[in-house]
């Protein structure tokens, strides 16, 4: 039987990879993917807690996280396309009219 802490460790490893990706990558779309990794790790932790505790609130929260993730990605890609149209780049270190 797999104990809960293993799922949590797995979730933390995913979260770490996601955070690292956001910090080191410079392509805006890759940063989005890394943010999705972070959200997935949160979802994994929530489902793990929910199953071991035995109430479904955690799983419902996952449902709302899914909604929000979809919303954020759609707005984000729209902004990226607008930037691309004006500047022809999606690399955040080249988008530097304002200081980063």
């Amino acid at each position: 039987m797999i104990p809960l802490s293993w799922y949590l460790f797995l979730s933390l490893i995913l979260f770490t990879i996601g955070v690292l990706g956001v910090l080191i990558r410079r392509n805006a779309i890759v940063i989005f993917m890394c943010i999705e990794l972070m959200l997935n790790s949160v979802n994994l932790a929530l489902v793990g807690f929910s199953s071991y505790i035995g109430n479904e609130i955690g799983q419902m929260l996952v449902f709302f996280v899914l909604v929000v993730a979809a919303a954020e990605v759609s707005v984000g890609l729209a902004i990226i396309i607008a930037i691309f149209r004006n500047r022809l780049t999606v690399n955040i270190d080249e988008i530097n009219l304002l200081k980063w």
Partner: protein, 167 residues
């Protein structure tokens, strides 16, 4: 070691391995496809955790929606206009130190905490339970979530459409 345990290890390996590819790959298309395997791996873990509804939703929304959207984004901003995509990394050293410090603390805390480690709750299908609660106790968040989606839809259209010609 039971079959269940083997399944956990395999899925965990797929998830973490492909997540590393997402972060480290130099080719943005490889990153996007590695993300696909991460999503499937996580969905498999949900199945092991008896969360059938969430597992299906994960496949439908993440793989069917979000990932397709991301790949569209990649296609729209790279292939069509043939602009080289830079995928190198920035300031790796400090980032590793910072994340290492944060995550070390988190791991420490999890090790220190006592756990209810046995999955002693028997679930027989979560879909009905989740559906019932969404329509009763969690009606308000459900409605707010729909407004969030509406705003995202509107926002995406407002920003990404072509300039309206003003007379």
């Amino acid at each position: 070691m039971s079959l269940f345990d083997v399944a956990f290890y395999v899925l965990a390996f797929i998830t973490v391995g492909s997540a590393i590819v997402v972060v480290s790959s130099r080719n943005i298309i490889y990153s996007a496809f590695a993300l696909l395997f991460t999503f499937f791996g996580v969905a498999g873990l949900y199945v092991l955790l008896n969360a059938d509804f969430i597992a299906v939703t994960q496949v439908l929304i993440y793989v069917g929606g979000i990932l397709v959207l991301i790949i569209f984004g990649v296609m729209l901003t790279t292939k069509v206009f043939d602009v080289p995509v830079k995928t190198e990394t920035l300031h790796v050293g400090p980032a590793i130190v910072v994340t290492g410090a944060i995550m070390g603390t988190l791991f420490g805390v999890i090790l220190k905490t006592k756990w209810f480690d046995i999955l002693n709750v028997q679930w027989d299908g979560t879909t009905k339970k989740i559906g019932e609660r969404l329509m009763t106790d969690f009606l308000l968040p459900f409605e707010v979530a729909s407004v969030v989606l509406l705003v995202a839809l509107l926002g995406a259209v407002i920003i990404a459409r072509r300039e309206r010609v003003k007379s």
